[in-house]
């Protein structure tokens, strides 16, 4: 039978705050085990949580960036379950009134179209500790440094119909949370994690099939692979007349299979109730406005601006908006150029995507420390624009700028690299070349037009590459008539 795949995602993003959500312990990654703990995050009796203001602002930022309604009054609830990585015996999360809900994000499909994916809700919660399972002995070791790190859980509507679409949404969300500065997006360190709910239904059927939840998807590749695996697993079951069991499954990236994670008798009954230790969070108009103002221009808006206003190809816009840092660099370069024409914008884009990115990759630099600042790049492009140097010479000057950190103008002056556009100066050289090569001149006039390259080469050699190619060509053309 032919099935339709239905996928919804839950994306957990660690917020980039300095401290945990309910206590002042550091959230820095990689510290000595249990060194970043206190009575609050280790769940000692009698302690009280106090909410981190920045965590609320970041969560709301994510809500605004995903077109959600911000619940101006939202509150925390307790989700009760026992697990060794959860010292309190409950997770503090949001249930009835999350900070944000009813949003959406448009994803780009491979065929060039877009698709709107609903964002059901975004809620704040605390992360659990980290368990280290001993490979030899029947013990696990608990590190509570991560316990209490602020998370947002972004829950999508079951709007995706393929593993590829799910992959696009996660990538887009990953780009967005980094762009708006609320999450570092480091998937190896677990800053962004994803669970996928997958179900199948016969094509044309309205009602959803039984879903399974895939956990532990910590790379873009794993997300798509795990979903594909689950689709084929469920297809096999249904084709053989079986029933999919609603369960949580764990993805094993090494073996590329998933296994059932929790047994059936371990029923989920979280008994949510409002946390009496935490007061409702109220986001008044002033705070809301502040949050909205703190958002940079969003990637989709930037992309549209590059394509529609600057006339850049969509592919260029995608690359330039891949990180906020790169887009900011490009924008600064444009600003330094004044009001760039589409031609100038394309030239700037080519340089940023080419020479600047190459510099970052080969030298391992960041845009914050790159020796050629956006202003300096604009200075170089202006020299090209004004015909002071040729595009070929500009590459040499750029390398020199990267090596020395000097302005293009200074390098051109110091090294005497400015191209010679003075017609009388070049005319003298052209005359000498023609006089010294009478047989070639004869041959050219006799029809060997290919010799033009020879003459240009001779003139450029004589000017040490500084002759303005336009002027050189023009003069040669006139004199060889």
């Amino acid at each position: 039978m032919e099935y339709e795949v239905v996928i919804g995602l839950e994306i957990h993003a660690q917020l980039k705050t300095n401290t945990k959500i309910f206590c002042g312990c550091s959230t820095a990654f990689g510290a000595e085990p249990n060194s970043q703990t206190c009575p609050v995050c280790t769940g000692m009796p009698g302690v009280l949580p106090v909410l981190n203001k920045t965590a609320v602002a970041y969560a709301a930022r994510a809500g605004v960036a995903t077109n959600c309604t911000i619940n101006r009054v939202n509150r925390f609830a307790r989700k009760n379950y026992f697990y060794p990585d959860l010292p309190l015996g409950y997770q503090i999360t949001q249930f009835a009134l999350p900070i944000a809900e009813h949003g959406h994000l448009d994803i780009e499909l491979p065929d060039g179209g877009t698709k709107r994916i609903g964002i059901t809700r975004i809620h704040m919660e605390n992360d659990a500790g980290k368990l280290n399972h001993d490979p030899m002995r029947p013990i696990s070791l608990v590190n509570l440094n991560r316990a209490g790190v602020p998370l947002i859980e972004i829950v999508s509507e079951p709007d995706m119909r393929s593993a590829a679409e799910a992959g696009v949404l996660v990538r887009k969300m990953h780009q967005l949370v980094r762009h708006i500065g609320v999450c570092d997006g480091n998937m190896e360190e677990g800053s962004l994690r994803c669970d996928a709910n997958v179900s199948l239904r016969p094509k044309g059927q309205e009602e959803f099939g039984t879903r399974t939840e895939m956990k532990n998807l910590n790379s873009f590749r794993n997300i798509e692979r795990a979903i594909r695996y689950e689709i084929s697993r469920q297809t096999d079951i249904l084709d053989n007349g079986g029933e999919v069991i609603q369960e949580t499954r764990l993805w094993n990236a090494d073996k590329e299979i998933s296994t059932s994670m929790r047994s059936k008798e371990d029923a989920h009954d979280y008994r949510y109730f409002p946390d009496p230790d935490l007061l409702p969070v109220v986001i008044d108009d002033a705070w809301y406005d502040e949050i909205v103002k703190s958002l940079p221009e969003l990637p989709d808006a930037m992309k549209a601006r590059y394509v529609e206003t600057l006339g850049l190809p969509v592919g260029d816009a995608e690359v330039l908006t891949s990180t906020l840092e790169l887009a900011t660099y490009f924008d600064a370069c444009l600003a330094a150029l004044g009001t760039p024409t589409p031609k100038q914008a394309k030239l700037a884009a080519n340089w940023v995507m080419g020479s600047v990115l190459a510099l970052l990759h080969t030298e391992g630099m960041s845009l914050a420390t790159v020796p050629v600042s956006a202003d300096m790049l604009a200075g170089l492009l202006t020299l090209v624009e004004k015909d002071v140097i040729s595009g070929t010479m500009a590459k040499t000057v750029f390398e020199e700028m990267a090596a020395t950190g000097k302005e293009a103008k200074i390098i051109v002056e110091e090294k005497g690299l400015a191209q010679v556009s003075d017609t009388s100066e070049i005319e003298g050289i052209v005359d000498t070349i023609l006089a010294n090569n009478p047989s070639e001149v004869e041959a050219f006039r006799g029809g060997k037009k290919k010799l033009m390259g020879f003459f240009v080469g001779q003139v450029m050699k004589a000017t040490k590459g500084k002759g303005n190619p336009k002027v050189v060509n023009q003069l040669l053309g006139e004199k060889l008539k």
């Binding site: 590190n143 009954d269 409702p280």
Partner: protein, 95 residues
């Protein structure tokens, strides 16, 4: 309010409590009584009253995002029944 033995066992399991048959009978009666007492609240007319989660009308007890001194692993682990490499030792859990 009548609470069944099964309900007591279910709740006990969620709370990771072992209860024997005698305790189940006793708890069923006690919890039934407590719930009957709470049922009294149902008689209150709450039309037009906003659901409340706190007795006092306070909001936004917030903290600035500033790191405080840490307790340190040694103190955090001081009462741990067993520890290794500055981590709590627990029976092996899978997943």
């Amino acid at each position: 309010m009548k609470i069944t033995k099964e309900e007591i066992l279910y709740v006990a399991n969620l709370a990771r409590l072992n209860v024997d048959d005698v305790e189940v009978e006793k708890l069923a009666a006690q919890i039934g009584d407590i719930l009957s007492y709470v049922d009294t609240l149902e008689k209150v007319d709450t039309d037009g009253v906003e659901p409340t989660t706190h007795a006092i009308d306070l909001t936004n007890a917030l903290r600035e995002d500033v790191v405080h001194p840490h307790l340190g692993a040694e103190k955090t682990l001081a009462n741990a029944p067993d520890e290794e490499e500055n981590m709590f030792v627990v029976p092996k859990v899978v997943g």
